[in-house]
């Protein structure tokens, strides 16, 4: 689904006032953090493995042109086809062409954030092809016509009643009298319905977590097994992925896998980690006959050699949003972007343009938690700061805000003063929470709040709303 971030401030306020969403956030947030920590504690080498992961991704990106070439050649050797796509439009057109050539009516989809990024589902539908999401969370969102609110738990913002309601509304062939006694019944119904779709689909579309240059393999990681059914049952398998996912060889990929699931869900390993290389081989009794890779750039090559190059290390584990106080308060939809949370706040301005996404790099308290849990140590707060500076330079913000940012920069360059200032502000928040006006009178905290201020379409700033939310929690 293509989205826009311009309405962030209003959406954030809605999120904070949405009781259902707040219930879901309260349920999910502590769990994510606890599970990750438990997985980290079980593996004494975890910290060292993070450094290994950083090294591998940095090496791959510093030689990205080379490894992409090697990768593409290996895919072609294994009988696959690579479709190089500079833009989202190119990628959509490439997928449609493959589907048309296959005479596809129904397309099953494994979970893929890149297909969200390019707005693939709407496009296929408009062209007479029915895409069916098979990841349970993506499936319910497709029924409800909502975008994902989280990159690995796309529907975690929904409560059980909403699942039941949507299933009753859409699964008309089933008895309206049926009772959902427990969550398992919801799962069983979806499994039954999707089984039929899997068996009928002509094309299966998955994403990829990694691409392996040496062997031309794409790697997906799932817990449900839907990605595997998606790529095994139809006659044609299409991988929609992006250029920064390539690593040199299997050993590099395995090292990254050791930090991925632990950071994401707190599992030591996801249930299914699958390496796919080309189409069906001689003698194989199953598997797709055709294997395509739609390889998307969409602004990523423009990050190489800039301060945003570090962002290309991202392995989409979601740890940063799982630990982010702002995400935890407003939920994923408020960002109005494919990628929410801290990683999204860095990436979205790249994908949507800073004009459309300029609120997002401001949606940070600079607490630094995201960077401290990121398995590939992306300096997320710093990168958000870079965006703010760019936005500042481009005079996108009202004059009053630029003045505030200048003041903020002055303090930020003087760490001791800055820390005193932020501490004063934090203490002020705790002790004098009810007197919001007080902040404006603290010179140091004035710089602090000004730097985090937003143009306020609804008459109040995001941070005022956020502070209010924190008080009433």
């Amino acid at each position: 689904m293509l989205q826009s971030s311009e309405a962030f401030v209003g959406n954030a306020a809605k999120g904070m006032a949405d009781a259902g969403l707040q219930r879901a956030l309260a349920r999910a947030k502590p769990q994510f953090a606890k599970k990750r920590q438990a997985a980290v504690d079980r593996l004494p080498e975890f910290e060292a493995l993070r450094d290994v992961a950083v090294g591998i991704k940095n090496h791959a990106i510093a030689n990205l042109d080379y490894y992409l070439g090697v990768y593409a050649d290996a895919v072609e050797r294994s009988g696959g086809v690579v479709h190089w796509c500079s833009t989202a439009e190119d990628a959509r057109a490439a997928v449609l062409k493959i589907c048309r050539a296959a005479g596809a009516k129904t397309v099953t989809k494994g979970k893929s954030m890149v297909t969200e990024e390019i707005g693939l589902n709407d496009y296929l539908e408009a062209n007479g092809i029915a895409p069916v999401e098979t990841d349970l969370g993506e499936y319910i969102l497709q029924l409800r016509r909502e975008p994902p609110s989280h990159i690995i738990g796309p529907a975690f913002h929904l409560n059980r009643e909403q699942w039941e309601e949507s299933f009753r509304e859409h699964h008309k062939a089933l008895s309206p009298e049926r009772v959902f006694h427990e969550r398992r019944d919801i799962l069983t119904e979806a499994r039954g319905i999707l089984r039929e779709t899997f068996l009928a689909a002509d094309v299966g579309i998955t994403g990829a977590n990694f691409l392996i240059a040496e062997t031309g393999s794409s790697v997906i990681v799932t817990n449900e097994g839907n990605g595997d059914l998606t790529q095994t049952l139809p006659r044609v398998h299409v991988v929609v992925t992006s250029i920064e996912k390539v690593v040199p060889n299997a050993e590099d990929c395995l090292a990254l896998l050791r930090v991925l699931a632990r950071s994401a869900t707190g599992q030591d390993m996801s249930v299914y980690t699958t390496f796919s290389t080309g189409g069906r081989r001689l003698g194989d009794l199953d598997g797709p006959e055709e294997y395509h890779v739609v390889l998307l750039d969409n602004g990523r090559s423009g990050m190489v050699g800039t301060q945003f190059q570090d962002m290309l290390r991202c392995i989409r584990c979601a740890a940063c949003m799982n630990h982010c106080p702002v995400y935890g308060a407003v939920g994923g939809h408020a960002y109005g972007a494919t990628y929410p949370g801290p990683m999204g706040s860095v990436l979205s301005p790249m994908l949507q343009g800073i004009e459309a996404a300029h609120h997002l790099p401001n949606a940070s308290t600079f607490c630094g938690k995201c960077e401290s849990v990121c398995p590939v140590k992306i300096p997320l707060p710093n990168l958000m700061r870079h965006w703010r500076e760019r936005e500042f330079e481009r005079h996108l913000q009202p004059v009053s805000m630029r003045y505030g940012l200048g003041l903020w920069a002055w303090f930020a360059k003087r760490p001791l003063l800055y820390r005193m200032g932020t501490r004063a502000a934090a203490v002020g928040l705790g002790v004098l929470g009810r007197k919001r006006g007080f902040f404006g009178k603290l010179p140091l905290a004035g710089g602090w709040t000004a730097g985090r201020d937003f143009p306020a379409p609804e008459g109040d700033t995001f941070f005022a709303k956020y502070q209010n939310y924190m008080r009433n929690k």
């Binding site: 975690f156 699958t274 800039t306």
Partner: protein, 222 residues
């Protein structure tokens, strides 16, 4: 062409053209070397430790394990497992030579079909190329004798793994794969039965793949 455009844009970012030939050769050598990065201590155990840790992790991830002295004990182990789970004694078996050796005629009550699973098969018997002790992971590369559907479609997956094939870490399994030749079309690393936590962050087993994963570890030679 888009390929040149994208590669060109990356090179502009890197502020260089194509890598010189000698540097390309260095990168090719690095790739082919299959250098192992840091392997956690739990991925470096001896044979006895590997089997024990593997079994422990399969169970931790909601699978079940039975250790058998040899493959001839398979039919008894399978029928008693299915009886205990209240599942009809009918299985689809991958056409792998090791599995074709199993003396199923000892158990005439068990219906056995060799081949590829369909949506109607409730139980499959699959052969594991290897196990990985590090996380209790099964390695299931596709091959004519190891169809992928048998890993996925049935509600209950029973997998045979030889104790000697339980390796310490994933890297050991990829070395073993490379010893056999080219990268197979599909290599599944399977850790426990299928699951989802998409409904209210609560774990439920059996999302799209098998709800039950039962691993038979064969101690002796087959």
């Amino acid at each position: 062409m888009n390929r040149d455009a994208i590669i060109g844009a990356i090179q502009r970012g890197l502020k260089r053209g194509s890598l010189p030939v000698d540097q390309q050769a260095m990168l090719a050598a690095r790739t082919a070397l299959h250098h192992r990065h840091l392997i956690p201590a739990r991925g470096q155990l001896d044979a006895a430790g590997r089997v024990a840790l593997f079994a422990q992790y399969v169970e931790r991830e909601f699978g079940t394990v039975a250790r058998l002295p040899n493959i001839a004990a398979g039919p008894e182990a399978i029928t008693s497992y299915l009886a205990k789970q209240n599942i009809a004694p009918s299985i689809v078996v991958s056409p792998h030579p090791d599995l074709e050796q199993i003396p199923f005629r000892d158990k005439p009550m068990l219906q056995v079909r060799y081949g590829v699973a369909t949506a109607h098969d409730a139980v499959s018997l699959q052969h594991a190329f290897a196990g990985v002790a590090e996380t209790g992971t099964l390695v299931l590369p596709s091959a004519p004798e190891r169809p992928v559907k048998n890993n996925l479609l049935p509600d209950t997956a029973i997998v045979v793994v030889q104790a000697k094939d339980i390796l310490a870490c994933y890297e050991d399994a990829f070395d073993k794969l490379r010893d056999q030749g080219a990268m197979p079309r599909n290599v599944m690393l399977v850790t426990g039965p299928s699951r989802s936590a998409d409904i209210e962050q609560t774990l439920e087993l059996g999302a799209h793949g098998p709800r039950r994963l039962h691993v038979l570890i064969i101690d002796g030679e087959s």
